[in-house]
Structure formats: structure tokens, C-alpha cells
């Protein structure tokens, strides 16, 4: 069944937040103005739209929302801290930066500029570059009404991870954080993103992250999505890679009622590497959707993508991975794979790997599997004394573990394994 949403839904949706007090963000006023115009022309997508075929946004679109700035409140971050791992922390509460809870570095190697800072910056002009705000209403919505954000720019080998923590609380609240991450030439940067939510109901988080990798730089982006009830989460990541750069994204979804992640990578320079890894394990009636695009616009690059998931109960998983290899992008190695295990008869997985190749000297592969746990393996483990439950858990752990093993930080790997219940 598809639902048609009348055009005035968007204006209604926007009107509830348009009058609220957001800082004016002088340097981005042009972008905001443009996005607001786009919003008047865009509609909420229906499932007839291929990009949204398996993820209904009706329940998000039909609510009205408000901003709620609680950035002065002191909050407890322990649940998302990584034992034995030192990080800097930037905390957002309901999409607003909370300095009282943050722990920012003071280093020549790293520049952190809040968007509220009126001082102009060399990356201001890159704001919204390659963001799909022309076609994606949620990207346009963030650009038009983002709540707060920072630009983080690494200038050297910055080893200590920057931990971005999003704290959400409240009913019918919209949170629209927006960040830019830059790794300058020869630098490296590691970003870790976690979330905490308490007492949320009909909370909508719509975040946008933009990444700019200059020549020969390296950027790792780790995301842990572990939400309690009451959150609908939309994230959009746009990555721009210059030559000789390495971008790696690791997306681990533990829990969440409704999550849609869009990650779009534009590989603009030669000799780049792009790695996209993800794991998800929806249960109950959860809905977890990962959409990725890797656009090879230059030659001699490599991309590796591997997403794995287990889907239980009446839950739904969605994977759509698109790889473009443009006409003159020769000598590309692009690998993409999505593997799923369905743990119940009522679980659903929609998997669609796509390749569009316009060059003739490339090595690309893609594949998708959806199956069940191996009964014989369960029996084998049971015949050694393991309960059916722990045999199943061990096999699931082994299955998802493959993409958790990709994590380069041992302490973080431990934490993610623990969150998935596979120590």
C-alpha cells in the first residue's frame, strides 16, 4: 500500500518549526534560503519512489515537532564511553551543542569551529557540496533548519578519537545536528558517533554530516546506533574524497525503532580507498535501512563494502548499495556484499546491490545473500551441551562478527562486541 501525502503536508510540517528561534548562522544564510525554497517544491516521498520504496516516512511526516534547547543541562555520558579509550567529547543535546558536557581538545593539530562563530572559514563555501538536498527532502530540511553544528578540521596525525555524542530527550522534538569534518593534506582523523536517548517519544533526529578528505589523508568514521524506544532516526553522510585519501565508515546498529542511514561517497581523486562496513540486528518490529552510494569519478581507486545483518521477529532490514564507475574511471576495484540471516518466518529483508559501470577496464563484484541459520551447525553445537539459545547466539555472533572485526581500535571493538552480546 502506498500513501499519497498532500503537498501542503510539507508546509504544515515546516511551519511548526519555522517560527522557532534558531540562530541566524549568517555565513550559511544563502544555503538556508535556497533549501527553504526547495522545501516549497518537494513532497514527502512515498514508497512509489524507488529510493524510499521500503521505508515509509508517513509516521514521521504526520507529526508536528518543536526544537527544545537543553544544552545547559548536565548529563551522564558513562553509558556510551569506551572503557580504556581516551577520547575528546563533543556533546549535542537535542541537536544543540552542549559545552558544559563537552571536553574539547586544545591542539594546533586540530581546529574546531562552531557554526555559530561568525568568523568566516575556508570551508564555508563547501557547505552542502554534493548534498542531495535538491532531491532529498530530509537533507533540505536539515540545511534549512539545522539546529547547531561544528566544523572539525585535522591538520596532522590526530590519533585520539573525537567522540560526538547525541543526547535526545522529549516528545515531538526534532533534532537537526549538522557537522563538517575535514582531514587536510597528509592528516588523519577518527570520529566516533554515539547516541543516548531518555524519555523520548515521537522524537525525530535528522542529522547531516559532511566529510572532506584532502590529498593523502585518512578519515575513520565509527557510528554506534543503540537507541531506546521513541526515536525515528534519519542520518545523511556525504563524503568527498581527493586523491590518495582513505575513507572508512563503520556503522553498527544495535537497536532502534526506525532508522534510515544514507551514506554517499564521491571519490573525486585517483588512488583512493573507500571502505563501508555495517552490521544490524533488528528485532521486534524495528526497521533498519542502510542506503549507500559510492561514486567513482576518478581512476585507480578501490572500494570495499560489506554489510551484514540478522533480522528477527517481525523486524525489517533494508540494504541498498549503489556503485557508479564513471566513463573515464579505469582500473577501479569495487567490491560490494550484503549478507543477511532471517531468524523468523515473519522477518523481512529487502536487499538491492546495484552496479553501474561506464568504464571498460574495471574489476567489480557485488552480491547479496539472505538465508537462515544453519540447522546442522545448531545441532552440532547443541550436541556438545550448548543450549539452543546460546548455539544460536554463538552463530549470530560469528556471522556479524566478521564486520565488527574490521574495527581498528581494540577498545572500541570490545565495546561493540559487547553491545552485540558476543564477547
Amino acid at each position: 500500500m502506498t500513501t499519497i501525502i498532500a503537498n501542503n503536508k510539507v508546509s504544515e510540517f515546516v511551519s511548526s518549526i519555522a517560527n522557532e528561534n534558531l540562530p541566524c548562522w549568517e555565513k550559511f544564510s544563502e544555503s538556508r534560503k535556497k533549501a527553504k525554497e526547495i522545501l516549497t517544491q518537494l513532497d514527502f516521498p512515498t514508497t512509489r519512489n524507488e529510493y524510499w520504496k521500503y521505508s515509509r516516512v508517513t509516521k514521521i511526516a504526520r507529526e508536528t515537532y518543536h526544537f527544545k534547547n537543553l544544552s545547559e543541562e548536565k548529563i551522564d555520558l558513562d553509558e556510551v564511553r569506551i572503557p580504556d579509550l581516551e577520547t575528546y567529547e563533543i556533546v549535542f543535546i537535542n541537536g544543540f551543542i552542549s559545552l558544559v558536557n563537552s571536553n574539547l581538545p586544545s591542539s594546533d593539530e586540530l581546529e574546531i569551529v562552531a557554526f555559530s562563530d561568525s568568523k568566516s572559514h575556508d570551508y564555508d563555501s563547501c557547505f552542502s557540496k554534493n548534498l542531495d538536498s535538491i532531491t532529498n527532502i530530509f537533507s533540505a530540511l536539515n540545511t534549512a533548519y539545522f539546529t547547531d553544528g561544528v566544523l572539525i578540521k585535522a591538520k596532522g596525525e590526530f590519533a585520539k578519537p573525537i567522540h560526538i555524542i547525541h543526547y535526545s530527550t522529549g516528545e515531538n522534538i526534532i533534532s537537526q545536528p549538522r557537522n563538517m569534518f575535514v582531514s587536510t593534506t597528509n592528516s588523519s582523523l577518527t570520529i566516533l558517533k554515539s547516541s543516548i536517548n531518555n524519555n523520548t517519544n515521537k522524537f525525530f533526529q535528522n542529522s547531516v554530516n559532511e566529510f572532506f578528505l584532502e590529498k593523502n589523508s585518512k578519515l575513520n568514521f565509527y557510528v554506534i546506533q543503540d537507541y531506546k524506544k521513541g526515536m525515528n532516526v534519519m542520518t545523511t553522510n556525504v563524503v568527498n574524497q581527493e586523491r590518495d585519501s582513505v575513507f572508512s565508515a563503520y556503522n553498527y546498529t544495535i537497536k532502534g525503532d526506525w532508522i534510515r542511514n544514507n551514506t554517499n561517497v564521491f571519490v573525486n581523486g585517483k588512488n583512493c580507498e573507500t571502505n563501508l562496513f555495517g552490521a544490524y540486528q533488528p528485532t521486534g518490529s524495528e526497521h533498519i535501512d542502510n542506503h549507500t552510494i559510492v561514486d567513482h569519478l576518478a581512476a585507480h581507486c578501490e572500494s570495499n563494502e560489506h554489510y551484514k545483518g540478522t533480522i528477527a521477529d517481525k523486524a525489517t532490514g533494508v540494504f541498498n548499495g549503489k556503485v557508479f564507475v564513471r566513463k573515464d574511471s579505469q582500473k577501479i576495484n569495487a567490491f560490494q556484499s550484503n549478507n543477511n540471516v532471517l531468524l523468523s518466518d515473519e522477518a523481512t529483508m529487502n536487499s538491492k546491490p546495484e552496479l553501474e559501470i561506464y568504464a571498460d577496464d574495471v574489476k567489480c563484484s557485488h552480491g547479496s545473500t539472505s538465508g537462515q541459520l544453519d540447522d546442522e551447525a545448531v545441532f552440532y553445537l547443541q550436541s556438545r551441551g550448548l543450549s539452543k539459545k546460546s548455539a544460536t547466539a554463538l552463530l549470530i555472533g560469528a556471522f556479524l562478527g566478521e564486520v565488527v572485526e574490521k574495527i581498528e581500535i581494540p577498545e572500541l571493538k570490545e565495546k561493540v562486541l559487547e553491545l552485540y552480546g558476543m564477547e
Binding site: 545441532f379 547443541q382 550436541s383 543450549s387 539452543k388 555472533g397 562478527g401
Partner: protein, 250 residues
């Protein structure tokens, strides 16, 4: 230890076991031989609790309990061990992690504390030496990429670690060269005691040169059609199974 009476089992519509009677006492080694398709592997799977088979008639008493009422893991925890003819490869699960979980869940079911790491490692060292299993294989994923011989040795290693009361070896000799056969048999013999029992399922007599049975049974068309001492195995080796088939069919 185990008393099987008139056991019938089917898979789908097909009846494979058609009235098995077998009594095994502590300290005994029983060999079950028979031509292909006679139901040997079905018997071992049924005793281990494989749910693909439906028990249609009969009873199995195991140390005073109704075995057929127990789940696979309960049987294992009460001391039944099946060495698989085709051990399963489980990528992503390390041998050590798997064994530690198996041992500790068994102990937990008995109300015992988990085995201390030091004790576990000492036991691993001792038992792996018994079947000459290379330490590097222990750290690898369960059976993944193991040779046929390594898989069988891993089965006997697991058996040694779990110390069962009743071990059922399903065609443990298949796919083994003579050296591996000796190592595996040596392991099994070392584990034998007056308190445990072994059922050796095999097509060929050669394994029985190394693991000497007290009784030999011939399974044919889902029934035990002949029983005897170890000399029966030699007779089968010499004359094949045809004379048995003729006797039964006559």
C-alpha cells in the same frame, strides 16, 4: 547404561529404524556394522537427539531416564557424545570459545561453577596431546579448513574434553589414513574406563583392529539381525554382507 527397546524412527514418510533392540553396559564397547543404508547413522543421530527424525515407536532408557524426552543439549550434558561422521564447519566460532562455552554450560546445568581458565587451558593441553592435535588448530574456527583427519581428531579431542559416559562414534574411520586411524583409536582407547561405554559405528572391520569391541552387531534394514563377539567382525570382513542379507531375506 543404555537400553534401547523396539526403536522405530522415520524421516518424512520413510521408516529407517524398524525395531532396534540394544543393551549397552558400563565398561563395554559395542560395534555396530552393516551395509550402506542400513540405518547406522540414523541410529546415532536419533540417540543424539536430531529433530529431523521422528520416533514412531519404542523406548530408550539411559541411566534410568527416558532419553527420548531429553533435548539434544540435555543428553550431551548428561554424558552422551556423538562423534560426527561429517563434523560441521563453523566459520567465526573459535574452537576454544566453543569448547569453553560447552563445558561451562554443562557445569552450570549441574549447578557447578565455571571451569577456571587455568584448569581449562591445562586440560586443553593434555587432551589435545592425546590426539596429537596441533595447538594452532585450537585457535582456528571450528573445523573450518581442517583436513578430514584433523576434523576427526578434533571430534575425539572434544570427546576427551567433555568426558562423556556414552560415546557414539559414527564412522570415525571414514576418510582417515592408517596413521590418523591409529592416533584416533589410541585416543578413544585411552578414554575408555569401567564407568563409560562406547558404541562404534563402522562399515569396515579395520577400525576394530584398533578399538577392540566386546560385542558386534549387524544392522540391516533398520534392525539388528545378528550379534556376536569380535570374531563376527572378522567374518564380515572376509565374507562381506551378502550372506547376512541372504539369511535375513530367506
Amino acid at each position: 547404561m543404555i537400553s534401547i527397546k523396539n526403536l522405530h524412527a522415520s524421516i518424512g514418510e520413510k521408516e529407517i529404524l524398524r525395531g532396534i533392540n540394544l543393551e549397552v553396559k558400563a565398561g563395554e564397547v559395542h560395534a555396530i556394522m552393516g551395509p550402506n543404508g542400513s540405518g547406522k547413522s540414523t541410529l546415532s543421530a536419533v540417540l543424539a537427539g536430531n529433530e529431523n527424525y521422528e520416533i514412531t515407536e519404542g523406548s530408550v532408557d539411559y541411566i534410568g531416564e527416558d532419553l527420548l524426552e531429553l533435548s539434544t543439549e540435555e543428553r550431551a550434558r548428561k554424558g552422551i557424545f556423538l562423534a560426527f561422521q561429517y563434523p560441521i564447519e563453523i566459520p567465526g566460532v573459535s574452537n576454544m570459545n566453543f569448547l569453553r562455552t560447552a563445558i561451562n554450560e554443562t557445569r552450570e546445568a549441574k549447578g557447578e561453577e565455571p571451569m577456571a581458565a587455568k584448569e581449562f587451558l591445562a586440560r586443553v593441553k593434555e587432551k589435545s596431546a592425546l590426539v596429537e592435535l596441533d595447538a594452532s588448530l585450537l585457535k582456528r574456527y571450528v573445523n573450518e579448513g581442517f583436513s578430514g583427519g584433523e576434523k576427526k581428531r578434533n571430534e575425539i579431542f572434544q570427546m576427551a574434553m567433555l568426558d562423556p559416559k556414552l560415546a557414539i562414534l559414527d564412522e570415525t574411520d571414514s576418510g582417515l589414513d592408517i596413521d590418523a586411524l591409529k592416533i584416533v583409536s589410541h585416543g578413544v582407547n585411552k578414554l575408555k574406563s569401567k564407568d563409560n561405554a562406547t558404541i562404534v559405528i563402522t562399515h569396515y572391520q579395520r577400525l576394530l583392529d584398533h578399538i577392540v569391541p566386546d560385542f558386534v552387531h549387524v544392522l540391516y534394514k533398520g534392525r539388528i539381525v545378528k550379534s556376536g563377539g569380535k570374531e563376527l567382525a572378522l567374518e564380515l570382513e572376509e565374507k562381506g554382507y551378502d550372506w547376512i542379507k541372504e539369511e535375513v531375506n530367506a
